[in-house]
């Protein structure tokens, strides 16, 4: 009996670094962020209590609403497109056939490129005068816009470049497809179901939990992944068209040393994310009629 308990304790002790990490990197910072949102803090002086002051400042700052709208644009436009692209790739490259290994590897390539390098390559691609994108459009006789310098095109351009690094979602959906038993398709075939019906009734329901998980993860990652392109490529411009919430937090906290304001924006961002996630959850549960059995 005693040996059982020591064995048990030894198993749990393997969890110690992980739990300490969660405490140090997530739980304490989350509590701290919550507290900071109610203080004035510049990183040097002792924090001073402000109550709801930070939130009121944020609410009356028109830039906050612009940044929020920009971030929401990205969630509404880029996240579903990324998900569709990953799903399309997974379906196309699912069946083992000659060359499919190479195609899969190539589809993963953009996900391997470091964010900073990826941003700078696309800065070149979008270059209005010398960039290859406009060279191609020019050769085809199409209009050659100034992309990142144009107010209406800067955001869609950043969304376009976000469509390629989708390797993780692609692999996860590919694994999801592999776990669908063949018998289901055989039975559907015998019953005379069309390919579309088989997809609609078998593939999609099985993938739904994965699609939900991926869309939630992508929404969260979007807040992070919009920072580097906006920071390195557009600096939030033109006219704040690419000012996303994380860039605004960076500017408030690390450039303006208004940590309290930054924390308040982050807290609002967190609440909005939570709301969107619940919405996504509800959408998948209600709209697609998936049930666990």
């Amino acid at each position: 009996m005693k040996r059982f308990f020591t064995h048990h304790a030894a198993t749990y002790s393997l969890l110690a670094p992980y739990l300490i990490g969660a405490l140090l990197l997530v739980i304490i910072p989350a509590g701290l962020a919550f507290a900071l949102a109610f203080y004035r803090y510049d990183g040097l002086m002792t924090p001073a209590w402000r109550g709801w002051g930070n939130f009121i400042d944020v609410a009356f700052d028109p830039l906050f609403w612009i940044a929020l709208a920009n971030s929401l644009f990205f969630i509404v436009v880029a996240v579903p497109l990324r998900l569709l692209a990953a799903l399309g790739l997974a379906l196309l490259y699912n069946r083992p056939r000659r060359g499919v290994g190479v195609y899969r590897a190539i589809a993963y390539l953009p996900s391997v490129i470091p964010d900073a390098a990826y941003a700078l390559v696309w800065l070149w691609i979008f270059n209005p005068l010398y960039g290859p994108l406009n060279a191609i459009l020019n050769a085809l006789g199409l209009p050659t816009p100034a992309w990142l310098l144009e107010y209406s095109l800067a955001k869609p351009a950043l969304a376009l470049m976000a469509l390629f690094p989708i390797g993780e979602g692609f692999v996860i959906l590919l694994a999801g497809l592999k776990n669908i038993p063949h018998e289901l398709y055989d039975a559907a075939h015998v019953d005379g179901a069309s390919r579309w019906q088989a997809f609609r009734r078998i593939t999609l329901p099985v993938l739904t939990p994965w699609l939900m998980l991926l869309s939630i993860r992508d929404i969260i990652l979007t807040f992070q992944s919009t920072f580097t392109p906006a920071f390195l490529m557009t600096q939030g411009g033109p006219y704040y068209a690419t000012l996303f919430l994380p860039l605004m937090v960076y500017e408030e906290a690390f450039e303006g040393l208004r940590f309290g304001i930054g924390a308040a924006i982050m807290l609002l961002m967190f609440l909005i994310t939570l709301f969107i996630i619940l919405l996504v959850y509800w959408l998948f549960e209600e709209g697609w009629g998936y049930d666990e059995t």
């Binding site: 064995h7 030894a10 198993t11 749990y12 393997l14 969890l15 992980y18 300490i20 990490g21 969660a22 997530v26 910072p29 989350a30 962020a33 990183g43 196309l92 069946r95 083992p96 056939r97 060359g99 499919v100 190479v102 195609y103 899969r104 590897a105 190539i106 589809a107 993963y108 490129i113 470091p114 964010d115 900073a116 390098a117 390559v121 696309w122 070149w124 691609i125 010398y130 290859p132 060279a135 390629f164 692999v171 592999k178 055989d186 559907a188 075939h189 593939t203 969260i220 807040f223 920072f227 580097t228 390195l232 937090v249 960076y250 690390f254 924390a263 982050m266 961002m269 994310t273 996630i277």
Partner: protein, 287 residues
């Protein structure tokens, strides 16, 4: 496009099937082109002559590739130093992440049902917390501990196995090993640490390869954390060097993209080395 055909049905050659296969390869090649073009352009521009007016047309390969552009990088900025710094962080970060991540995944696969469910839910929640929402508070915390301008904040995620996703990957892998195997090892007097090393890890080689690659990308590709924490130039990483270079001369595209290619090369090589281990049928289907 969906693949409901079972693979075990005997197939005969037919025009229709050959046409479908041809169509598949055409589509796959067009898609693949879109996915490699950024890399191709990165390298092709990095080999152009610097200081010349750039051509308005696409030049796939410059007439005289300027390999010395890559040497110039190391003369303009201490890129060698940055490279070693990135390498040091990654060389410490990857093995420690695999160690702690696989420990956590292993322990999760061994504890009782209730504890396991709670730990799983906890891990999923950790994965769902937006890191962006924690930047600032983490920074204030590490600043209080006197750990800005140090590699501690950059390496701290090793405790979480780089990302909770890796912990889940290990957990899923270890769950597939029958519990009786561990039970009999325990009766033979094996400690959990011994079971982890001798039973669990040897059966997780493809997962280890995939996790090592993800951890490598996590630490090597990190741009935001070094940007927030590192203040002195001797500590800078390659990604920060890339930003510095771009700030020095925004129009010097050959040099900027040569630096981008330099930062991209190590994770690319790692990916090409391990991709076969996890992009194949057996790992993907979890068998």
């Amino acid at each position: 496009m969906t693949k409901p055909e079972p693979t075990h049905r005997p197939r005969r050659w037919s025009w229709r099937r050959a046409g479908a296969s041809g169509l598949f390869h055409v589509a796959a090649i067009v898609i693949s082109l879109a996915f490699v073009l950024p890399l191709v352009w990165m390298v092709s521009v990095s080999l152009r002559k610097t200081g010349l007016t750039l051509p308005h047309t696409i030049q796939w390969l410059p007439q005289e590739p300027q390999w010395q552009n890559y040497l110039r990088l190391f003369q303009i900025l201490p890129m060698g130093r940055y490279f070693l710094n990135s390498l040091l962080i990654t060389a410490l970060g990857v093995p420690l992440s695999l160690l702690f991540g696989s420990w956590a995944g292993f322990a999760m696969s061994q504890v009782g049902k209730r504890a396991r469910r709670r730990l799983l839910a906890f891990t999923v929640i950790l994965m769902m917390v937006p890191t962006t929402a924690l930047w600032l508070a983490r920074f204030v915390m590490f600043a209080r501990l006197g750990q800005t301008n140090s590699y501690i904040p950059l390496l701290a995620p090793v405790l979480l196995g780089a990302s909770p996703l890796l912990v889940l990957l290990f957990y899923w892998n270890f769950r597939r090993i029958p519990l009786e195997t561990f039970e009999s090892a325990r009766l033979d007097g094996a400690t959990p640490l011994l079971s982890w090393w001798h039973i669990a890890l040897p059966q997780a080689r493809p997962t280890l390869a995939a996790a090592a690659m993800l951890a490598f990308i996590f630490f090597w590709n990190d741009f935001i954390t070094p940007l927030l924490y590192l203040r002195s130039q001797r500590l800078y990483t390659l990604s920060i060097g890339l930003m510095q270079l771009q700030e020095m001369d925004k129009t010097n595209w050959p040099l900027v993209l040569a630096a981008a290619a330099l930062v991209t090369l190590p994770p690319l090589l790692i990916f090409l080395a391990v991709q076969r281990k996890f992009l194949n049928e057996s790992w993907l289907s979890g068998k």
